[in-house]
C-alpha cells in the first residue's frame, strides 16, 4: 500500500509548482524523499495564501486579487464587471484556467472576475509573464490557475458562511465533503444577492437653485445595479487500483444583474435599461495514472454558457421595447493528454497534445445581427526540466499551435532557477518566452465591425527575479523582487467610426516594463501574533506605436487604465482567537486617454482603499465557529474607480462562519 502512495505523493509534490492545478490533490500518505524539485525549474508563480482565501471566502475573486496581489483589477463598480490585467497589459491578455480548463470567454476574450466566488476555489495561483505559456498560449500578461480540489478527507466535514451586508446584501455558502480512502465527494452551494442601491451625492449632475443660482446636487441611489449569483459545485475523486486517480467536477452558475447607467444620465427613467443573464455549466474530468517513472494525465473539459444581454426602452406608453436582445451561446471542449517521464532525479520530460474546440452562436433578434463561428485549436507541447548540479535548474519548452487551418509560429520558453544560498533560501530566477494571443471571435466576426483580417497579437516576455527567505529567530520573513520586460506588437484596439459602429484594428505596439516587490513578515510578541503582507509594483507600459498614425501626443505615453505604481498591504493581529485585519489597496493615477491628458474632468486620482475586518474564532471540539465584521471603505471616502460610475461609501458585512 505504501509504495504506490509514495509514488503518488512524490509526483504530486513534483507537480505542485508547475503544471495543471489538479495535480495538487492532497493525499494523507504524502512523503517527500527528494529535495530536488525538478518541476519548478524557471517558473514564477504566486499562490494566494490559503488563510487569506479563507478570510475572503465570501468575496469575489476580483476583490481577493485587488486586495492581496499585484494584479490590477479594473472594476466598473460593486457587483459589476471586473477584469484583471498583469504587468501593464490588457485584460484580454490574462488567461484563466479552472482545473486546467481555459475559462476565458471565447466570444469576449476575457473573464469577469466579479462572477467567481472565492469559496469555490481551493487554490489560486498567479503565473505572471512568461510562465503562463506552460498552461497555454495567449497570456501575454500572465495567467491565473484556479483549482477546486479540496484536501482528501475520511470524515464528514461541513462548512459554510452566512453573511449579511449593507444594501440588502446576502452571501450564503455551504460546503459538505466526505470520503473514504478511495472516494471523495465535495458539494458546494452558494446564493448571493444584493439590491446594491447605495446612496451617493451625484456631483456630475446639478439643478440650479432659481433663487440663489447655486447648484443643487441630488442625493441619488445606485439604481438598476442589483445582482444575483447562485450555483453549485460538485466534485468527486476516486483512487483505484493503487495507481489511478480520477477527479470529476461540475460547476453550474446562474447570474442575473442589472447594468447601471452612468452617473451623468438624466434621461427617461424607463429608458436605457440594461440587464445581463448568464447561465454557465462547466465540467472537468481528470484521470491520472501514476507509474514508476512516468505519469499519464488525461484531462477533458466542457463548458457551455448562455448569456442574454438586453437593453429596453419604454416607447410612448406602449410598454417596453427591446433595443438590444442578444442571445449568445458558447460551447467549448478542452482536452489534454500529457505524459511526464522522470528520467532520473534531475530530469523531467513532458509531452502533451491539447485540443480545444469552441463554438459561438450569438444573435441579436432586434437588429438581426450575429454570427455562428467555431474555432479548433491543436497544440503540441514538449518540455524538458533539468537540474544542473544540485542548485541550478532549467526548463525549456516548445509549443506549436494550429488554429483552424492556420499554423502559428513556434512558442519557445526558457527559464532557470538558481539556489544561490540554500540556508537563506536565496533563489535567483529568470525566464523568457515568445507568445501569441489570437483575436477573440467577437474581434473577428462581431456584426457590425468584426475584422476577420486581424492578426494575432505577438509578445515577447522576459523576467529576472530574486527571492529571499532568511532565517531569523522567531520571525518569518519572505521577500522577492522581479524585473520584467514585455514587448507586444499588433495590439488589438476597438475604435469607433461615425454613427457608432466599432471595429477592432491591430494598431498598437506596447512595451511594458517594471518591477515587483513582495515582503511578507510574520512574528509574535507575548502570544500576540502579527502577520504583515505587502507588495508593490512599478509598471511603465507605454505606447510605442507609429507617430504618424497616433500623433506624437500619444506615443511614449502610459497605456490607459494602467497605474504606474500599485501596491497593497495587509496587516493582521491575532490574540486568543480575536483578530483584527487591515487591508489597504493603492494605485497611482490612471489615465483615461492615450495621450495622458491631465484634466480634472477625466481624472482618476490616486486610489487608497482601506478595509478593516474584526472578529473572533471560537474553537469547538470538532471544528470552529467564527463571527466577523468587515468594514469596507473604512474612511467613507467618495472615490472613482472608472469614469462615470458611483462607488459605495462605508459599508458593512457581518459574517458567521462555521466548520464542523
Amino acid at each position: 500500500m505504501k509504495i504506490p502512495a509514495l509514488f503518488i505523493g512524490l509526483f504530486i509534490t513534483l507537480g505542485l509548482q508547475a503544471q495543471m492545478l489538479p495535480d495538487t490533490v492532497s493525499i494523507p500518505e504524502v512523503e517527500v524523499r527528494s529535495k530536488v524539485d525538478v518541476a519548478g525549474a524557471g517558473l514564477v508563480q504566486h499562490p494566494v495564501d490559503t488563510l487569506v482565501m479563507m478570510q475572503e471566502a465570501e468575496a469575489s475573486l476580483s476583490d481577493l486579487l485587488a486586495a492581496h496581489t499585484s494584479v490590477f483589477i479594473k472594476s466598473e463598480g460593486r457587483g459589476a464587471l471586473a477584469t484583471a490585467s498583469f504587468r501593464g497589459t490588457d485584460a484580454s491578455h490574462t488567461q484563466v484556467y479552472w482545473n486546467g480548463m481555459d475559462i476565458q470567454s471565447p466570444m469576449l476574450g476575457q473573464v469577469d472576475f466579479s462572477q467567481i466566488p472565492v469559496f469555490l476555489m481551493d487554490k489560486v495561483v498567479l503565473h505572471p509573464g512568461a510562465g503562463s505559456v506552460v498552461d497555454g498560449s495567449g497570456g501575454l500578461g500572465g495567467s491565473i490557475d484556479l483549482a477546486s480540489s479540496p484536501a482528501w478527507t475520511q470524515k464528514l466535514q461541513i462548512n459554510g458562511m452566512a453573511a449579511l451586508g449593507s444594501w440588502l446584501t446576502f452571501n450564503n455558502y455551504l460546503g459538505v465533503k466526505a470520503g473514504t480512502q478511495h472516494f471523495q465527494t465535495s458539494t458546494r452551494l452558494y446564493y448571493n444577492r444584493s439590491k446594491n442601491d447605495f446612496p451617493f451625492y451625484n456631483k456630475n449632475v446639478a439643478d440650479i437653485d432659481p433663487k440663489t443660482g447655486e447648484y443643487i446636487f441630488p442625493l441619488q441611489r445606485n439604481e438598476h445595479a442589483d445582482y444575483l449569483l447562485d450555483g453549485l459545485l460538485q466534485g468527486f475523486a476516486f483512487r483505484f487500483r493503487k495507481k489511478y486517480l480520477l477527479q470529476l467536477n461540475y460547476w453550474y452558475q446562474h447570474s442575473d444583474r442589472s447594468l447601471p447607467r452612468l452617473n451623468t444620465y438624466e434621461g427617461d427613467d424607463h429608458a436605457n435599461l440594461s440587464r445581463q443573464n448568464q447561465q454557465t455549466h462547466r465540467a472537468t474530468a481528470q484521470l491520472t495514472r501514476f507509474g514508476k517513472k512516468g505519469r499519464l494525465d488525461v484531462n477533458l473539459g466542457f463548458q457551455a454558457e448562455n448569456m442574454i444581454f438586453q437593453v429596453q426602452n419604454q416607447v410612448g406608453g406602449r410598454g417596453y421595447y427591446d433595443a438590444v436582445y442578444s442571445d449568445s451561446r458558447t460551447l467549448g471542449s478542452y482536452n489534454k493528454l500529457e505524459y511526464s517521464y522522470r528520467w532520473n532525479k534531475k530530469t523531467l520530460l513532458k509531452a502533451s497534445y491539447r485540443f480545444n474546440y469552441v463554438h459561438v452562436n450569438t444573435y441579436d433578434s432586434v437588429n438581426r445581427t450575429g454570427y455562428d463561428q467555431f474555432r479548433r485549436r491543436h497544440a503540441l507541447v514538449a518540455s524538458w526540466q533539468q537540474y544542473l548540479g544540485s542548485r541550478f535548474s532549467t526548463m525549456a519548452l516548445l509549443r506549436k499551435e494550429w488554429i483552424n487551418n492556420t499554423s502559428l509560429p513556434l512558442i519557445p520558453y526558457f527559464g532557470f532557477n538558481w539556489d544561490v544560498d540554500e540556508k537563506a533560501k536565496l533563489v535567483l530566477h529568470g525566464n523568457i518566452t515568445r507568445n501569441y494571443h489570437y483575436p477573440s471571435l467577437n474581434d473577428l466576426y462581431w456584426q457590425p465591425g468584426g475584422n476577420p483580417a486581424l492578426k494575432p497579437e505577438e509578445g515577447v516576455a522576459s523576467e529576472l527575479g530574486i527571492g529571499w527567505q532568511p532565517k531569523i529567530k522567531k520571525v518569518s520573513l519572505e521577500t522577492s523582487l522581479s524585473l520584467f520586460y514585455n514587448n507586444i506588437t499588433n495590439w488589438i484596439l476597438w475604435v469607433p467610426s461615425p454613427l457608432g459602429y466599432w471595429s477592432p484594428e491591430n494598431i498598437q505596439h506596447v512595451v511594458a516594463r517594471g518591477f515587483e516587490v513582495k515582503v511578507n513578515l510574520n512574528f509574535s510578541i507575548r502570544k500576540i501574533y502579527f502577520f504583515l503582507k505587502s507588495s508593490y509594483a512599478f509598471t511603465k507600459s507605454t505606447n510605442e506605436g507609429d507617430a504618424g498614425k497616433w500623433g506624437t501626443a500619444s506615443v511614449g505615453k502610459q497605456i490607459p487604465y494602467v497605474p504606474v505604481h500599485s501596491g497593497n498591504f495587509m496587516g493582521e493581529v491575532r490574540w486568543k482567537g480575536f483578530f483584527l485585519t487591515w487591508v489597504n489597496t493603492s494605485y497611482s493615477e490612471r489615465f483615461t486617454t492615450s495621450s495622458n491628458d491631465l484634466n480634472l474632468r477625466d481624472r482618476l486620482y490616486p486610489y487608497f482603499m482601506n478595509d478593516l475586518y474584526a472578529g473572533k474564532k471560537f474553537p469547538l471540539k470538532k471544528g470552529n465557529l467564527s463571527l466577523q465584521l468587515k468594514i469596507y471603505n473604512l474612511f467613507n471616502e467618495t472615490y472613482r474607480s472608472v469614469l462615470g460610475r458611483p462607488m459605495p461609501g462605508r459599508n458593512y458585512l457581518l459574517m458567521f462562519t462555521f466548520r464542523l
Binding site: 475604435v495 454613427l499 480634472l600
Partner: protein, 370 residues
Amino acid sequence: MKKCLTCLFLLLLTLLWAGCMNDDSLYDFHKMVVNKKGHAVFIVNEGNFMYGNASLSYYNPQKDEVLNDIFYNTNALPLGDVATSMIIHDSLGYVVVNNSGKIYIINVNTFKYVGKITGLTSPRNIYFVNRHKAYVTDLYAKAITIVDPATRQVTGSISIDNHNPEFYQHSSEQMVFLGKYAFVNSWSYDNKILVINTLTDKLVDSVTVVKQPNSMVMDKNNKLWVLSDGGFKGSAYGQDTSALTRIDPLTRKVEKVFHFPDMEASPTGLCINTAGDSLFFLYGSWAGGAVSHAGVYALPVDARILPDRPLIPQGNHLFYALGIDPGSSHIYVSDARDFLSRGAVYVFSHRDVMLDSLRVGIIPGSFCFK
C-alpha cells in the same frame, strides 16, 4: 511595551494618511469666467461611449483662439456621455448629450449652464419650429419629442413607430424644413425620409431612399439631398452601395441617385455651402474597411457625375466630422486620431488651402457656428 505603542501610533498615522482621496478637488476649482462675443465655432466632442467624457471646445478664427473643455471649466460639471450636436437659438446653445438622455443649455458667450431638458431617451439633434416648439430627434424613442424651449419641458411627442417586428424602426436623426413640413431621415436599419407636418405634429408621408440615410441638406433650388451609407456587410437588413439622392420635397419624388461604386464606401457628413450650390461630404469607410481616395469631396448641385478625386485627401488622418462655416464658407474637418486622445480640427478655405489646425477634445463629432 513602549515599542508596541510606538508601532501602533505609526500604524494609526499611516491609516490617517491613507484616507486621502479628495474627490471634491474635481469640482471645487477656480471656474473659468469669460465673455466671448462675436463669431466663433463650437466643436462638440463626443468622448468615448460609456466614459462620460464628452466635451465642448471653442474656436475664434479671427483671434486664432482655442479653448477646450469650456463646459466643465466654466460649470464644474461634466457634459456627459456622447455629445452629438449643438445648435444656437436665441443666444442660447443647446448641446445634445445622447447617452445621458439630456440637452444642456448654455450661454454662448459665457458658456454658463443656464438650464437643461431632461427625461429624453436617446436624443440626437434638436430643431426649433417656433418660440414655443422644438423637435428632438431620437435613436430609440420611436418618436420625435416635442419640447417647449421656454419652459424646457417635454410637451408631447410624434410617434414614428411603424410596428415593424423585424427591425427597431423608425429612428430619427436630422431634420430639414420646407414650409410647414419637416423632413427627417431614419438612419438605423432603415431607408426612409419621414415627412412631418409641423402644424399638426403628425407623420404624414415618407420617401424611400437607399439604405441608411445618415445626413441631409436643402440646396438653393429647394431640393433635398440625402446621403446614404448603404448599411454594412452581412447585415440582415441588407447592404446597398452607398448613394447620394436628390429629392423634390414638394412632390416627394426621388429625382436623381448617384451610386458610389465601392461597396466598402460609407460616406457621411453631408453639408452645403452658404450659397447652397455646392455639396460637401466625407468619403471613407467604417473602421476596419478601406477605400481608395478617402477624404472630403465637393460636388456642385448641378453635377451629373460624382467626383472621382477628393477636394481634401484624408492621408494619414481619420476624418470624422465635417462642417461648413456659413459665414466664411471655410471647411472644418475633424480628425479623431486614435479615438482615445484629443482629436484635431483642420480648417480649409473653400479652395482646399489649410488655414489652421487645432487640438480639441476626444472624438470631435460636430460643429456649431456662432
